[in-house]
């Protein structure tokens, strides 16, 4: 990493001990051709929490996630990470600062093996710098070996050691979903944004994924999960945010939120 | 001043042809999200079709129709038997561009092999000049401009008022959504290619009527201008293409009159670079539509 990124990362990962939010959306509006997909959303994500975002189709959940992740810029509003304005920060810089996201549609690197998929995610690889390559392999070999070891550990943890040398594009849907989660973990996220992690995954595999996500939540990573399945979110998340028509209509523990009239209405209509 | 008006006059004629070409190009792109780099060569092929009909002694109007029909047929065949299978198979955008380029090279060289490397022209009855206000046009040029205006009006009616037009706009905007609303996107796309192909053929024959002779590379040479006009207006935006064509047609002719005529393409290129740097989505394209963030895959 160059000096500029290093200081950014240091500033962002420095302890925010006062319980303030680790990620915050303020007055986010995002319009597409006249329609406000996200229509004025305020949201605070706290460290070591698991927050679910749910809502009917078109509620703006994915768009909000894109804005938080940096793949889309909001039409207005700000995104803050530990108090620092990152609204205009590109997604790769956000990743450097510990904000990692997964995709709803499989986004594995198809022509790389599973292990290579994980290795790509390792941060600050000296072997990715041209001047280091010119100097020779011994300047990056040790780091690479450490990354490879960590990748094998992850594979073992998720039970996919046998697939290490398979092309990621040849796996089943559920396996690819796991690869994506492992990849996100390999990047050592401080904040993990998951866009419909269960989409298109069969029920058995979904339970496996859910179990892994629960473990992650217990490890202190701040997680934001966009999901359709109320039941899944209920099991995983202490806090659920309900969106409809681009706005947040309810925010609190699942039991409480579920009983709210606005939420029931939104689901019936939307 | 006289040069300026004269060149504006030429510019309007070029703009007319360019408008038809650019609208066709942009319609194909809008609905399929892929750049048909073979477009220029389909124009040439259509011009040759018209030439054959002309040699057989048919009147000019029939030649023009034959060319438009040839353009339509070739475009539909290309779409159905080459582009669509690749898209359906999951070929990424960058692979599709190579496919399009290969097709372009094949068509151009097939024409070269079939007709030879010489220049060709249509046998036409003599043309008369008409003068208005210091600008001089031939009757044929006036007809070309008239056809262009008629075509633009027809496209406008199609897009704004017909059901097909609305379906095309919906498919261009978001094919998945269009399908969810019950639109048969496959058929819409096929029809769009048919119409765009007809425009391509029409532009091809008008292009060669306006120049004294043509060869196997003529259409492809015009592709640079077509792309620039489409990008200026916003690729996928039919109205943008019309306006881009007028602007570019006039600018290139005027600039070429004052520098050198072979620089027309260079000027188009300069315009293209300026667009890319200043406003990549063109005059009417939605902001951000050309960046990688919104990259969609091709649709078939």
């Amino acid at each position: 990493m160059n000096a500029g990124l290093q200081s950014t990362a240091a500033a962002l990962l420095g302890a925010a001990q006062d319980g303030s939010s680790v990620l915050e959306a303020r007055a986010i509006v995002r319009s597409f051709g006249g329609v406000n997909a996200v229509d004025g959303v305020d949201l605070q994500i706290h460290p070591a929490t698991v927050t679910g975002i749910i809502g009917p189709n078109g509620a703006g959940k994915s768009t909000l996630l894109h804005v938080l992740a940096g793949s889309i810029h909001p039409s207005s509003g700000t995104v803050l990470m530990r108090g620092r304005d990152i609204t205009r920060l590109s997604s790769h810089r956000r990743a450097h600062s510990g904000l990692i996201r997964t995709y709803q549609i499989s986004s594995e690197f198809r022509r790389l093996t599973v292990l290579e998929n994980l290795l790509v995610a390792a941060t600050d690889q000296r072997g990715e710098q041209f001047r280091v390559l010119l100097l020779g392999k011994r300047w990056w070999r040790r780091q690479e070996e450490a990354n490879v070891a960590r990748a094998w550990d992850l594979l073992a943890r998720f039970g996919l050691v046998d697939l290490a040398n398979e092309y990621a594009g040849e796996l089943s849907g559920g396996q690819r979903r796991l690869v994506e989660i492992m990849r996100a973990l390999m990047a050592e996220p401080k904040i993990l944004l998951l866009d419909e992690p269960m989409a298109g995954v069969n029920p058995t595999m979904a339970r496996t994924v859910e179990g892994h996500l629960r473990e992650l939540g217990q490890e202190g990573i701040a997680m934001v999960i966009v999901e359709h399945e109320l039941a899944v979110l209920g099991r995983l998340c202490e806090r659920v945010v309900v969106m409809a028509s681009g706005k947040v209509i309810a925010d609190g523990p699942m039991a409480e939120v579920r009983a709210r009239q606005e939420v029931i209405d939104a689901y019936v209509i939307g | 001043m006289h040069t300026l008006l004269l060149s504006i006059g030429f510019g309007l004629v070029t703009a007319s042809i360019l408008a038809i070409a650019a609208v066709g190009f942009t319609l194909q792109f809008g609905v399929s999200n892929m750049l048909n780099l073979a477009y220029g060569d389909v124009m040439t092929a259509s011009a040759f079709a018209g030439y054959l009909v002309n040699k057989a002694g048919a009147p000019l109007a029939v030649c023009v129709l034959a060319a438009a029909a040839a353009g339509a047929v070739i475009s539909v065949l290309l779409h159905r038997y080459i582009y669509r299978p690749f898209v359906r198979r999951g070929t990424r955008l960058f692979g599709l561009v190579v496919v399009a380029l290969s097709v372009a090279v094949i068509i151009q060289n097939a024409l070269l092999a079939g007709f030879g490397a010489t220049f060709f022209s249509y046998q036409l009855s003599p043309d008369h000049a008409v003068n208005f206000a210091d600008m001089s046009f031939t009757v044929r040029q006036l007809i070309i401009m008239g056809i262009a205006v008629a075509v633009m009006l027809a496209i406008n009616t199609l897009l704004r008022r017909s059901r097909l037009g609305k379906a095309m706009r919906a498919t261009s905007g978001n094919a998945t959504l269009a399908r969810a609303c019950g639109i048969n996107t496959s058929r819409v796309i096929d029809t769009a290619w048919l119409i765009a192909g007809a425009l391509c053929g029409l532009a091809g024959v008008l292009l060669v009527l306006n120049t004294s002779s043509f060869q196997s590379t003529t259409g492809n040479d015009f592709l640079v201008l077509t792309i620039a006009a489409a990008m200026l207006g916003g690729v996928g935006q039919a109205y943008g293409a019309m306006i881009g064509a007028v602007a570019l047609g006039v600018i290139t002719e005027v600039a070429a009159a004052y520098t050198r005529s072979s620089f027309k393409e260079v000027i188009a290129f300069v315009v293209l670079v300026a667009i890319v740097l200043i406003r990549p989505q063109g005059l009417f394209g939605p902001p951000g539509s050309t960046t990688t963030v919104t990259e969609k895959e091709a649709v078939a």
């Binding site: 590109s90 997604s91 790769h92 990743a95 450097h96 996201r101 995709y103 986004s107 594995e108 690197f109 198809r110 022509r111 790389l112 093996t113 290579e116 290795l119 790509v120 941060t123 072997g127 990715e128 710098q129 390559l133 690479e144 070996e145 490879v148 070891a149 990748a151 094998w152 290490a164 040398n165 | 892929m34 750049l35 780099l37 080459i82 690749f86 070929t91 960058f94 599709l96 561009v97 190579v98 290969s102 090279v105 094949i106 060289n109 092999a113 030879g116 490397a117 640079v224 792309i227 990008m231 050198r260 620089f263 260079v266 290129f269 670079v273 890319v276 990549p280 050309t290 990688t292 963030v293």
Partner: protein, 333 residues
Amino acid sequence: MSLYITTLLVYVGVDVMACWGLNLQFGITGINNFAFIVFQAAGAYTAAVLSLGPQSGNGGFQQYLFGASLPFPIPILMGGVIAGVLSLLIGLITLHRLRSDYQAMVMLVIAVIGTIVVENLGSFLNGSAGLALIPQPFVNNFSSPVDYQWAFVAFTAVACLVVYFFLHRITSSPLGRALRAVRDHEFAAAALGKDVARLRMFSFVVGGVLAGLSGGILVSFITAWSPGSWLYVETLVLLTAVIVGGTGNNFGVMLGALLVPVVFNEVTRYLPQFGRPGLIDALQWIMIGSLALLFLWFRPQGIVPERRRRFRAPDAAPEAKLPPGTPAAAEPQ
């Protein structure tokens, strides 16, 4: 006869080097560069101009800018440098603003315009006549032309070897892996912290430098260069070679560079002249285009596909000789 063979070999070497550059851009990083041939041309013109000496020296029958008579191998190396600089400029304009199909379109237009500009600006690089009588490097060291030709072939081979090892260092490293990730899914790569724009620019410039070097070497042997040598469709020949040989695999690409340009150009030499002039050329192009389409459809990975990088699982036993996770010996890429 020996001139024929040595010319063929030099062309092979030059095409291989150029295809490796194109492979880095297209096969490994997923960048469409339809203007690739322009960078080779830039290298060739630079090497030519820096060998020809000042324009007045030859009696002024050729017009060009910045003549100089620099010793070997500076003109060739400068060819690489200038091509690299040109890549940087063009890359800055197109690479990180535009999605891949727009980029492809703009590159194609650049290639078309490139020839038009050079043809029309006569005093820049002698217009459509091109440059000729370019002095050959190190020719005075050899008494016979045959010896010189073979020495040049050896030089080309050595240059290719150097390039091969240089590229291997890149492709077998984490950088190569990051480039492939950008090719496969650039958004996911960005979401994992890869600076996609910088990575693409890297490939674009390095590929451009290789194109320029190949042009410099070629022009130093054939001693002439004109817009006819670098029409925009020539990029398609190189691209077809990469596709046929095996995108992403430098060994495969070498094979492709051997088969496609050479076989096509040489096979027609032995056919009797039939049909009108230019017919055979046209048929050649039709075959190139068809070959590209056939391979893209039936065997997109090429004859020699990209090698899979396998890793050996860590041994459970503590006294294992290899530290856990040591990568298996990487196969040549």
